[in-house]
């Protein structure tokens, strides 16, 4: 089990999710748990709660998991996925309000240093206009 916060990348496009994950790996290697998903249940552009739940599971860390999303539906579906988690996990997963690529790289770098979930989220969100 990782001592670092995990990162999940949720995009409408699997290509963007995978590309973003590649950039994160490029920065932090395998130092943090990382998973990504993209596409609706049919594989078209969109997001899928089942895939998001599987990605959270894959990137699970007892330190918590930060989710980076692109547009509206990715955020709404991620929030719904978090609510569907078992109670002992629900409080340890947070959706970040940050640009997906920059946010994921910043969050992962912060997580790599052993930061808490709140610190990881805050760092990613520094990129968003308040």
């Amino acid at each position: 089990m990782s001592k670092n916060v995990g990162i999940v990348i949720v995009s409408h496009s699997l290509d963007i999710a995978k590309g973003t994950a590649d950039m994160v790996r490029n920065m932090v290697g395998t130092a943090i748990p990382l998973a990504f998903c993209g596409g609706n249940p049919d594989g078209g552009l969109g997001t899928s709660i089942e895939k998001i739940l599987a990605a959270i599971d894959e990137a699970w860390s007892e330190r918590g998991v930060a989710i980076l999303v692109d547009l509206g539906g990715a955020e709404t579906n991620s929030e719904m996925a978090v609510e569907m988690l078992p109670e002992n996990r629900r409080g340890k997963v947070k959706v970040c309000n940050a640009p997906i690529v920059e946010g994921a790289v910043m969050a992962a770098t912060e997580a790599w240093g052993g930061a808490s979930l709140d610190e990881v989220k805050r760092t990613a969100e520094e990129l968003s206009p308040q």
């Binding site: 609706n40 899928s48 539906g73 719904m80």
Partner: protein
């Protein structure tokens, strides 16, 4: 009132299928052109899961339907309609009165509002859902007045500027188009009215 869950599910699904093209067309004007496709995928999944859904009494069936929509729609409308039906499932008694229906819809409308971080006037499904819920809760509603209000409210989104969802990126350019979510909400309300009127 007795609501036949099987008819309810079938009628809503058929209404979505029959109007899917229009929903996608509305969504192509101010969104990402997938609302009809997403709603169709969701209701196809509901039909595929009908034996499981219909094995439960009305509230459980409505809740299970919401869960299927959440899992299968794949767009923002999944969690939004999912939250609507799942909340209704939690609120409705087995055999709801009109006032139960109005109260449950109001609670569900609030849940959708907080899920989507939107409110009335933002050019969303809430512009249909919330006034219709309030109208039914007022105790003066008839099936026809509900249908009329839903249609008027969907139409009222045409001059609105979108403040939530993909259409909000268009700013002023979202004005002049009906919101696809408001229209799908009208279509579903109309389908429920068909069931209550014994039309289907």
């Amino acid at each position: 009132m007795q609501i036949d869950s099987s008819k309810l599910l079938e009628t809503m699904a058929q209404a979505v299928f029959a109007n899917a093209e229009e929903l996608t067309e509305l969504d192509s004007a101010i969104g990402d052109a997938d609302h009809g496709l997403n709603m169709t995928r969701g209701f196809q999944a509901v039909l595929a899961d009908r034996d499981n859904i219909l094995s439960k009494p009305l509230p459980g069936a409505v809740n299970a339907m919401g869960y299927t929509l959440v899992m299968k729609i794949g767009g923002a409308s999944g969690p939004l309609y999912g939250t609507l039906f799942m909340t209704l499932g939690k609120e409705l008694p087995d055999c709801p009165s009109t006032s139960d229906l109005g109260r449950s819809l109001l609670v569900a409308g609030e849940a959708v509002s907080s899920r989507g971080k939107a409110e009335i006037g933002n050019k969303t499904m809430l512009d249909v859902l919330l006034p219709v819920a309030a109208h039914i809760a007022s105790g003066t509603a008839t099936i026809n007045s509900v249908r009329r209000l839903a249609a008027e409210c969907a139409k009222s989104t045409v001059p609105m500027k979108a403040l939530r969802g993909r259409a909000s990126y268009l700013g002023e350019r979202s004005i002049g188009h009906m919101d696809p979510g408001a229209r799908s909400c009208e279509i579903l309300i109309d389908a429920v009215c068909d069931v209550l009127a014994g039309k289907q």
